[in-house]
């Protein structure tokens, strides 16, 4: 089946619309926002885009999807690799058949053309700043994260820790989950993994509140976590006294900020991940000469879509914009 | 008296076999009809048609002279037709009272009236001489007791028509007498009764009328008063059944020596005995005397509480059936359905199971086939062929399969627990002959039987058990019904 002509970029040749694919790493609300961006771009530049979610969030499932897309002969793929380091070989194979870029999570060693997104480590440091603002005099902190085996999770967590402890900028550092961590007046008591289950996140938070009554702040790094933490703190009747810092833009998180129960959240811009990825792919596919195509790439192959801190100060404006973009 | 239940022109076929062909059958109120026939003649199938388990392919069932169609057993039950199945069908996780009233619980709204059921359970079981606590779990009852419970269940239903499919096959004489007395009472009360048995003595004793089936067809009937043994056999078999006169053979060396054996059911009683090559030894006793336990402990099916078992002078060093079989033991167990057969497997697979391994690691299908053909021929097993699923054979034929697989194992000592349970008269005589023949060749046989007649005709010597201990031993010339009974009830 040598019908995957994307490698030579001859998209317009067949006469039909360009066919692009957007592949994410697991089912999550985060990606539904990206899907809106994808659709917006598809309308803007008039291409067909399909959207793919590995239902169990497994590397193996993502691999199947990518293989099948090659068979399908799509003109370009934007993927958020589930395990960048070890998927390099696979990604390099894809490059032979189609145009490939990464988004959200990069695979720098691979031959992908570009990366659209931000650095999770940087976002983590941003999150750390929020914690510092909540606990200016230091304090005890518990971090909750879905799983620790994903690059984005590791980066975020390390960013928070490094920022709190005032360490140097080093995205490759890794502190083990069970290690006792302290520095700069802050103490990270433990990191809980919550396995995509809000119920477990709530239980872990409750147990931490029992175990460390003097805890100062919870940090929830996955989208479903800040709301679950909020529920746990509420059930212990310690709202306001125990600080909460979050990640991503779950409705309940934003409401928590409005209500003053959550200090702030760090949001990426999934809408733009989706939109910019598709626009970039469409642009690349319209040019069949590799030389000229290279000129269309963003500088350093990195299209930066920075994260933002959302606090009581800017939550209204952000939320309104989000609602408008996603039509919620 | 009026005909209550009848079938007209019933035909019922299963894949590969026509079980019933144009059969007529009727039973009146206050009448006991005995149904007889060889194994696989179609008796159980006919009764299942009457009780709504099977629907006939052709023909009709009439109740009070009106055609009826039973879609499921519950329909027949509701019309007052109760069937005691040949094979035990009990929910053993229930209590005695629970099992007794299953499907017809005494209720107050949705709730159980447990106390009333326990009281009534005691009455019904007492009537049959089954003396057990109504709160005891069914799984802790011995098979004979479970059979009495099945009978009690049918009595409890106060049925108009009571069908009993070999109710006495695992009962001893005492319980049988009692049951027959109850049947008499029911007859007097106007119940229509169908009674199936291979024990022709019972048939003669109880039947008002005898109906015979042969190969799924009616093959004669006669009044109970005319039912001589020979006539019954002629109706069933259509030929002479000769019982060869046997020559007691000279016993050889000790094949089986049991010393200080105590079972887990009766750990306090130690038992000693020996069986010689060429000897056929029977174990008699009342229901629950511990006979089955002795055989099972011997064979290693259950752990032994104490004691040594020697086969041909060598003590069994390991426990478990594997070691016992390796040493030359073989056991035909009491409960063929659960312990004797792998019901979903074919006849051939079952027959060859214990001996396959001797032919090497690879499956030897030719051996399997030969063995099965030989068994089918020798024991007269009625089957569509070696590839019939064992579970679809008639009860008696299943029993023959269990026998066949162990006869093929060529053991030093053959242990048999109720060896001819449910086997028809003709086949039983043949099995007895075969056992004698094998004993003549040096096989040692130790068997348990609840049937007095089988002990008397088959055994060279009898051990009698009473409540877990060996109450006595009777040589060939001391063997008599009276002597056995005296020891069995413990009055020495």
């Amino acid at each position: 089946g040598g019908n995957a002509g994307g490698g030579s970029g001859g998209a317009g040749a067949g006469g039909g619309k360009l066919r692009l694919a957007f592949v994410v790493n697991m089912p999550a609300e985060f990606w539904t926002i990206a899907e809106h961006g994808v659709n917006a771009a598809a309308a803007e530049v008039d291409v067909d885009v399909s959207f793919h979610v590995p239902a169990g969030g497994l590397v193996e499932q993502q691999k199947r999807i990518l293989e099948d897309l090659v068979v399908k002969g799509v003109d370009g793929i934007a993927v958020s690799p589930r395990d960048a380091e070890n998927m390099t070989g696979l990604l390099d194979k894809l490059v032979q058949h189609t145009l490939l870029i990464t988004h959200d999570s990069d695979a720098p060693q691979s031959k992908r053309l570009a990366y659209v997104g931000m650095a999770n480590y940087d976002a983590g440091r941003m999150c750390g700043k929020l914690v510092k603002s909540a606990l200016p005099d230091g304090g005890k902190i518990v971090i909750l994260v879905g799983t620790l085996d994903q690059d984005n999770a590791k980066g975020r967590r390390q960013g928070v820790i490094d920022e709190l402890f005032g360490r140097s900028y080093d995205p490759t550092r890794f502190d083990a989950q069970g290690a006792k961590l302290a520095g700069g007046g802050y103490e990270v008591l433990t990191t809980y993994t919550t396995e995509s289950q809000p119920q477990k996140c709530k239980a872990n938070t409750q147990d931490a509140l029992v175990r460390w009554p003097d805890i100062g702040c919870f940090v929830g790094l996955f989208e479903y976590e800040p709301p679950a933490i909020l529920e746990a703190v509420r059930s212990a009747k310690r709202l306001g006294e125990v600080k909460i810092v979050g990640f991503d833009e779950n409705d309940a998180t934003l409401q928590g900020i409005l209500d003053g129960h959550i200090v702030g959240t760090v949001v990426q811009n999934p809408y733009e991940y989706g939109r910019q990825s598709i626009k970039l792919l469409a642009k690349l596919a319209s040019e069949s000469d590799p030389e000229k195509r290279a000129a269309l790439l963003p500088e350093g192959g990195f299209l930066d879509i920075p994260a933002r801190s959302i606090t009581a100060a800017n939550v209204d404006e952000f939320w309104a914009d989000l609602k408008q973009k996603t039509g919620r | 008296m009026a005909t209550v239940l009848e079938v007209r022109g019933v035909t019922k076929a299963f894949p590969g076999v026509v079980a019933l062909e144009d059969v007529e059958f009727a039973v009146d109120a206050g009448e006991v009809v005995a149904l007889i026939g060889e194994n696989g003649a179609g008796k159980s199938t006919l009764m299942k048609v009457l009780a709504g388990v099977h629907r006939p392919d052709v023909g009709e069932v009439r109740l009070d002279s009106k055609p009826v169609t039973f879609h499921r057993p519950a329909d027949a039950l509701r019309q007052g037709i109760a069937l005691i199945h040949q094979e035990l069908e009990l929910c053993e996780n229930l209590t005695v009272a629970g099992a007794l009233f299953l499907g017809a619980e005494l209720r107050r709204g949705p709730f159980l009236r447990s106390r009333e059921m326990a009281v009534r359970a005691r009455e019904v079981t007492a009537r049959l001489g089954l003396d057990v606590d109504p709160d005891r779990l069914v799984e802790t009852l011995a098979p004979g007791q479970q059979q009495l419970l099945e009978i009690a269940r049918a009595l409890r239903a106060d049925a108009r028509v009571l069908i009993m499919d070999e109710p006495t096959s695992s009962l001893t004489q005492r319980e049988t007498e009692r049951l027959l007395a109850v049947v008499d009472e029911l007859r007097a009360a106007g119940v229509a009764i169908v009674y199936i048995s291979h024990r022709l003595g019972e048939v003669q004793q109880i039947a008002d009328r005898v109906v015979a089936l042969r190969d799924g067809k009616n093959s004669g009937s006669c009044a109970g008063s005319d039912a001589s043994h020979d006539r019954l056999v002629a109706m069933m078999v259509g030929r002479e059944v000769g019982s060869s006169d046997r020559q007691p053979h000279e016993p050889g060396d000790v094949a089986l020596a049991v010393r200080g054996l105590a079972t887990t059911a009766y750990p306090a009683h130690a038992i000693d005995f020996t069986v010689r090559r060429g000897e056929i030894v029977g174990i008699a006793g009342l229901l629950g005397a511990g006979r089955t336990e002795v055989l099972r402990a011997l064979f290693g099916a259950d752990p032994r509480a104490a004691g040594v078992v020697e086969v041909a002078g060598v003590a069994l060093d390991r426990e478990g059936p594997e070691a016992a079989i390796a040493a030359g033991l073989a056991l035909v167990p009491e409960d063929r359905k659960r312990e004797g057969l792998v019901l979903p497997m074919t006849v051939a697979q079952n027959v060859a199971l214990p001996t396959l391994r001797r032919r090497g690691r690879w499956l030897d299908r030719a051996y399997e086939r030969d063995l099965t053909d030989r068994a089918i021929g020798e024991l007269g097993i009625a089957t569509a062929g070696g590839s019939q699923v064992a579970g679809t054979l008639s009860g008696g034929n299943q029993q023959k399969i269990v026998l066949a697989k162990w006869l093929a194992a060529d053991p030093v000592v053959l242990l048999l627990d109720e060896p001819t349970r449910g086997v028809d008269v003709g086949a039983r005589a043949e099995i007895h002959d075969r056992l004698h023949e094998l004993a003549g060749d040096g096989l040692a046989v130790l068997f348990v039987s609840s049937e007095m007649e089988e002990i008397l005709t088959l055994a060279d010597r009898a051990l009698v058990m009473h409540e877990g201990r060996l109450a006595g031993e009777l040589g060939r010339d001391e063997l008599s019904e009276a002597a056995i009974l005296r020891l069995a009830v413990g009055s020495v």
């Binding site: 006792k180 479903y224 | 069908e89 499907g103």
Partner: protein, 324 residues
């Protein structure tokens, strides 16, 4: 009975050890603090309902793998009925329970009328319901947005018993469900017949038991209780994501039932044992959170403790059997 004894003993030992290990500077045990006991009791209530759900079907000799997905259905539907349909709390709850009950009816009919294997039917259910909910919710998380406040009491309420400890309402719910189940199983005709058919379907049928209707009833009860559990879960955490909500809960549910002495071959089960089985898993994870440095080894420890517990239980049983 012995199962319950062994399980209680195991739970007692773990609770004792945890109590001792969590004594703080003031000499009070964190584990025994009112707050922690309330938290733990809530979780036992939530997961206990699911284990009872699983047991209903296991008792018939079947299995229900779709429990987690039915939890997902209820968890996503409840906020939706309240928020978008605008139903008042109680009506919304009843509506969701009716839907999950229908799911159970569907399972029961497939198992009884079409004689499909329960494993296949409910495995397909596992895939189907979650898949449909994901499509309906479009992978967005579904929250109450302020509705359902009247119902939240069911999951987060406390009945103040004494200073510092209120009885969590979910435990009360479990008590009611458990009491109802115990009465149904052991005091009614239907329960007696349910256990009978679980042990020997053919024998029960021959005795005139309406095996089909009862089996269907069991599947309905199972999905209904799973639905109730799902409602409680979502009320507890306030929002649900179709892709992950209730994921894997069928295993927890079945595990609780089996640990509590429910035999997978059918015909055996006791409410108390099942509740204890469900409690054991919650207790372990609570203990790990209170004692360990991180919860990385949580699953490993839960697995090891249950295995050792089962082995010791069996060893003890045999020792006792040999002695008496």
């Amino acid at each position: 009975m012995k199962k319950i004894l062994g399980l209680s003993l195991l739970i007692f030992v773990i609770a004792l050890v945890t109590s001792l290990l969590t004594i703080d500077d003031a000499g009070r045990s964190l584990f025994l603090s009112g707050l922690n006991l309330e938290n733990l009791a809530t979780r036992v209530g939530l997961f206990g309902v699911l284990s009872l759900a699983a047991a209903f079907v296991i008792v018939t000799g079947g299995i229900d793998l779709s429990i987690g997905s039915v939890v997902c259905v209820a968890g996503c539907m409840l906020p939706w009925t309240l928020r978008d349909l605008g139903l008042p709390g109680v009506l919304g709850l009843l509506f969701v329970l009716a839907v999950t009950g229908l799911i159970g009816l569907f399972h029961g009919l497939l198992v009884v009328r079409l004689r499909l294997q329960p494993f296949v039917v409910t495995l397909c259910g596992l895939l189907l319901y979650r898949g449909v909910m994901r499509a309906l919710a479009g992978d967005q998380s579904v929250g109450f947005r302020g509705t359902g406040e009247d119902l939240r009491w069911l999951a987060t309420g406390r009945l103040p018993l004494f200073e510092g400890f209120g009885l969590p309402v979910p435990l009360l719910v479990l008590g009611l469900v458990g009491g109802f189940t115990a009465v149904l199983w052991h005091r009614t005709v239907a329960g007696r017949q349910l256990f009978a058919l679980g042990h020997n379907l053919e024998a029960a049928r021959l005795a005139g038991v309406p095996t089909g209707r009862l089996t269907i009833l069991a599947y309905v009860m199972c999905s209904l209780l799973a639905g109730l559990g799902g409602c409680l879960f979502v009320l507890d955490v306030n929002s649900a994501q179709a892709a992950s909500f209730g994921n894997f809960y069928e295993l927890y549910a079945i595990a609780g039932a089996v640990l509590g002495g429910t035999a997978l071959r059918g015909g055996e089960g006791q409410v108390l044992g099942i509740v204890l089985g469900a409690s054991l898993m919650q207790l372990l994870s609570n203990a790990i959170n209170l004692v360990a440095d991180s919860n990385q080894l949580e699953f490993a420890i839960v697995g090891a403790v249950i295995l050792i517990g089962a082995a010791v239980d069996e060893g003890l049983r045999r020792y006792l059997a040999r002695r008496g």
